[in-house]
Structures are given as C-alpha cells and as structure tokens.
Symmetry: C2
Amino acid sequence: MKRPRLTQRDIARIAGVSQATVSLVLNDAKAAAGRIPDETRERVQKAIRETGYVADPIARRMAKGLNRILGVFTYEPAFPSAQADFFAPFLFGIEETAQTLGYDLLLLTGAPANRGKRRIFDENNRLRLADGCVILGREFDRAELKRLIAGDYPFVAVGRRDPVGGPTGGPVPYVGADYVTATAEMVRRARAKGHSMLAYVGPSKGAESSVDRWNGFNLALDGAELALHVPEVGGKALTMLEAIRRSGATVAFFTELADAVVVDAAARSQNLSVPGDLSIVVLGSHIRPMQSGTRFTTFSIPREEMARRATQMLCERIEANAAGGQVLLACEPVEGETLGTIQQETDLT
Amino acid sequence: MKRPRLTQRDIARIAGVSQATVSLVLNDAKAAAGRIPDETRERVQKAIRETGYVADPIARRMAKGLNRILGVFTYEPAFPSAQADFFAPFLFGIEETAQTLGYDLLLLTGAPANRGKRRIFDENNRLRLADGCVILGREFDRAELKRLIAGDYPFVAVGRRDPVGGPTGGPVPYVGADYVTATAEMVRRARAKGHSMLAYVGPSKGAESSVDRWNGFNLALDGAELALHVPEVGGKALTMLEAIRRSGATVAFFTELADAVVVDAAARSQNLSVPGDLSIVVLGSHIRPMQSGTRFTTFSIPREEMARRATQMLCERIEANAAGGQVLLACEPVEGETLGTIQQETDLT
DNA sequence: ATTAGCTGCTAATGCGTATTAGCGACTTGT
DNA sequence: ACAAGTCGCTAATACGCATTAGCAGCTAAT
C-alpha cells in the first residue's frame, strides 16, 4: 500500500539511462551543451509518460534554490469572516499578479504561538518554503521586521512601514496608501464647507496607518479647532455620540468604518440628521457596496492595486535581486452624503 | 550583500560542536537516547539566539518527508471577486481547521496551462510541497482524478465525486453536500403547496452536483409534470421568464442563484407577483445576507462545515494513513418567501 | 599517426537537515 | 582488573534533484 514514490532513478532504470540523463531530459532546452539525441530523449519521455512521474518540488527547490512560490504572511488569520472584507481585496490582487507572473501562493497560517500572537520567526519558520513573501496586517512586529531587514530574505510589506533603526537597519520595502494626503484632503473639504470644530475618533499613535491619518488631519487643521479626540476605537455608540455633541464639533472623523456606522445609526435614532446636525467623515474604506445604507463621505483605499504593486515589487526583488522601494498610492476621495455645509450664525436665511 | 544563508554547520562551528548536535538540540526532547548535557545545549542555543538562525523548512521536509502543510487546489482562481462568495466559505473552513490542527496552507494558484485550463499534473506539479491536498471546484478533471486515485498522494475533495473506474480506480475521498435529498425536499414542499407544473432551469448532466440536483428533483416529482427544462444556465432573463410562463409552470427551480435573481427581477418588472403569479425555488445557496432584496426559498449548503470536515479527513489520511471516506452533509431548508400556495380552480375564495 | 574536437552519456557532488550507528572516555559491578 | 554499561558526542548517510567535470568512443584535421 505504501508504495515508495517514483524518483528519477526509477525512470532512469526503466529507460536504461542514468539519473542525470533523466534530469537533463526534464530540464530540456537549457542544457545546450552535450545534447541528447532524440532517440534517447524519447525513450526517457516514454518512461515518464507511462509511469506518470512528476519531479518532487521539494527536492527541486533543494537543488536549485528557487521554486517560484510567493509566501503571504498575515498577522491575523486571512479568512475569518470578520476580517474577510479587509484582506480579501489584498488577496485578490496578490493572486492575480502571482498568477500572471507564474508564481504559486503559499499562505502562512501558522498556529498562533505563545501569547496568541503570530510570529514570523517561529521555531518552525516556513517562510523559506517560498522564494519571497508579501506581508499583510495592520501592525508589524518591530522586532521581527528588524530581523527581516537584517536578513537576506526578500519580502515586501503592504502598507507603509517606518524605517528600521540600528546598525543593520534601513528602509522597509513597501507599497502603501497615502493616508496623510487623503486625510488632509478630507479635512480641507470639511473646512471649505464651513466646519471649524472637528472631532477625531481614532488613535494618534500605534500602527503607521494610524499615525499617518492623524498627521494628515493635523496638517490640514490650519486654525480649526480639534474639539474632541477619542483615541479609543470600538467604543459605545451613545457614549461617542454624546461626547461629540457636547464638544461642539460639527463634524466627526472616524478611522474605523464600524465606529462611524454605529454613531451614524445612534444619531439617526435620536432624530439627529446626518449631515444636517452632524457631519461624518470616514478615513478610508474599500470601494465596495457598503452593507450599511449610509453612503459615507470618505476616501477609497486602493487595496487591490497596492497588493498588485507589492507582488510585482517582490518578484523583482527575487528575480533581479532588486532592492525594493517605498511606494505610496493615492486614495480617491468619495463624495458620499455625510459631509454637510455649516451656515454662519443664522439658522435659516 | 549576498550573504549565504546560515546553516546548522555555522551554528555548529560557533558553538564548537558538530552539525548533528545542533540538529539534536533543535529537535530536543525527541531524542531520549544519548542525552545532551545542559551546558552544551545552552551553548548551542546561545549561538542560535545570537545569530537568529532558523532551520530551512525545505531541507527539513527533504529529510523528514512531512512538513505540516496542506495544499488547497482550485480549478478556478480562488480569489477573483466573481467567485469570491463561492470559495470564501470553503477557505474559511479550511483555514480554521488547518490552524487548529497546526497546519499551514499552500494555495495552488498555478498559471493556467495550455488551453487556459488548470491542471494538477502540470509539468511542474507543486502538490508535493504539501503533505496532502484539499481540492475545490465544481468540475473535477476525470483524468487527473484517476491519476490521483492511482497514486499515493493524500487528498480529499470538497463535493461529491463519482468513483473512478479502471484497474487502479476506486471511490474518491470526499465531503459533499446531499443535494439529492435537499432538492427532493424542495420539490415535495412545492407539491404540498399545490404545485404540479414545475420548471427546471439548470443542467441535468455534467458535474456531480448538477446530476444530484437533477436526480433529487425527479425522485420527488411523483406524478407532477416537468413543464419545462432549460438546461442552459446564465440565459437571458426575459427569455427564461417567457418560456416558463408559456409552459404553464407555476414554480421554477433554479440551480443558479444568479438566474433566479434576474428572472425574479424580470417578473416583478412585468408586474408579476412572486410568489403570487410565479413561485421560485433556488437549489442551494450560502447562508449569508443576499445582496438581492428577495429572500428566496432554497436550502443552505453547509460550505464551512464541508471544508472543515474535508480538512479533518485529509489530516487523518496524512497522519494515520487512513483511507478517507465518503461523507454527505445535509442541507438545511430555508423557508424564504418565494414559494407560494396554488389555489385550485377558483381565483378568489 | 597523432592530436584535437565532438558526441553522448555518467559519476560524483552539493543543497541543509534528520537520523542512526558507533566511538572514546568514563563509571559501575563483580 | 576486566567486562559491561552509560554518557556525550560525531561521522556517515539518506532524502531527490540539478549540475559539473569528465570519460569513452568516434571523426576530422594536421
């Protein structure tokens, strides 16, 4: 029952040649030197056909060093429904590009190690099964990032990452979204509509994407007042709403769509009009039909494109031993219908 | 720049021991015999820590034969938006189980070979990178299936598959959904509501899932009349609707949700009431909020569960060298609101 | 006739790890 | 004191393939 796997040696024996010859026939055209006559070649191929032999990709990789596989590492599970909408567009883009470039995908789904956190440098790190690796996830473990940069393993991050310090440090190859510019543009639009008391719901530090939004926000504030800053995300809708109202803010910026959705709902349930009584801006979302009825004012994050570019960059790193750069893609503003105009003084003209 | 990768030999040199010792330290507890004193062990681990060495998973697999990776092969690309809703639940389930059982996932995204069709036994078959493989997709290439069955590579199909004939043939290990029973139940419900003229839109042959639906349908017909059979899927909405109306059918069974959606829309746009004037039954769909407003009468396919069970079965095949069986999971009827009651003769009582 | 060159193949080696047999230096038992 | 173990480690090998050096047999050139 446990028939040992067919190897080139078996084929060689059947065809009456040596293992080396079998390998040469398989890798065909490349060996321009010492050509193999058609007669022999045919004999070997016949044996292969009849036995259904296929080369072991592991051994192949072992001998050659590359196997045309791209790894995809996610710090969070890639598929769970909760994250699905977040990761799916990235995966779409990666798969598309990988397929075009003739690579297979290896999804690293390592069991969460100690403390429930996933780690790249686990005791059994499987990264090297792939020629290189795309890394997804909001937060990148800095220690691991440092090791990656110090090492010679090709990788590209999706999302901007701060450079790594230290003697072995350096810039991180990434393809990210330009949250600074996009957020600043949102603030500018709000200001143009007369808003001067702004609320911000979202962290000001932590992941690069958070910091970038916060920086973009402050960059464009330009005299307007930050009436309220709620650094915690995922709070209670009524609490958030009340705080915003009390602060006197006329527009609230949310880093999390989920927060915006619940606050929007809470406002409406209190007979507050959005954007009549309160404007809402969401700092980034994917270009897809929202399940929530409200069409928020926001900007779209080009997730597929980010993934495509990152994958491409990775392949260049692998194939041409290129260094990999830092790319920021622009986010497209989405007009939506939750950013209103503020009237000066008078209630009704 | 192209620093050669760190190997156990390097660690051995640094720690002043042999490569074998390093390997023994790494694989730790297993080697009960010939224990290694803590002093030496510590020396080796220090070297590992300081250099950041990680064992090469390829070489590991080469030496040991297994690497705790499950392959996932799909005949269609797994992520493209179009298929997303179809594959996503399977992937959820597979990832979940894989993670629980401590396996990584390898998504086989091979470039489409000749004629644009994906093949398992490509010139560079990467299946063997994984210890075993889950196979997804509506249609399974019979020739490839035959080779798989004949070979010793562990795999499990998601979805029922007919046994393979021939000397090396046999049953196919799978976890599928019981479309026969589920479809028959739908027909029975329609009949119980007075329907006796039925239309069927969907193929009667081809993939096992199609055949099963068709068989279940006929099984429960029981004297009722098949007023119309449209074997083509994805036809024009108005054409389908008209054919159904002309046939005198009072209820239409669709194998494809998409067809049902457009015919439903067409009917409503013609001021036909669903289910007042025409009942619609969809033969299977996923338990998720439909984008279409209509809540169809249908049955839910337990996709996540199928994937979980298949993954589990695969792991048993790998670890215990089990044979793998044939499992059919039940589909849950979904009441919906598109199956109405037929009044006898009288229009209004 | 000797050398040079070509053709058609094979032996040998390396890739990085896991594993096993076994060796030298001790310790223990009798 | 000698056999029989135990301890701590290493040499050697296998895994399946790609690749290189090179060998034998031949032909063509000098």
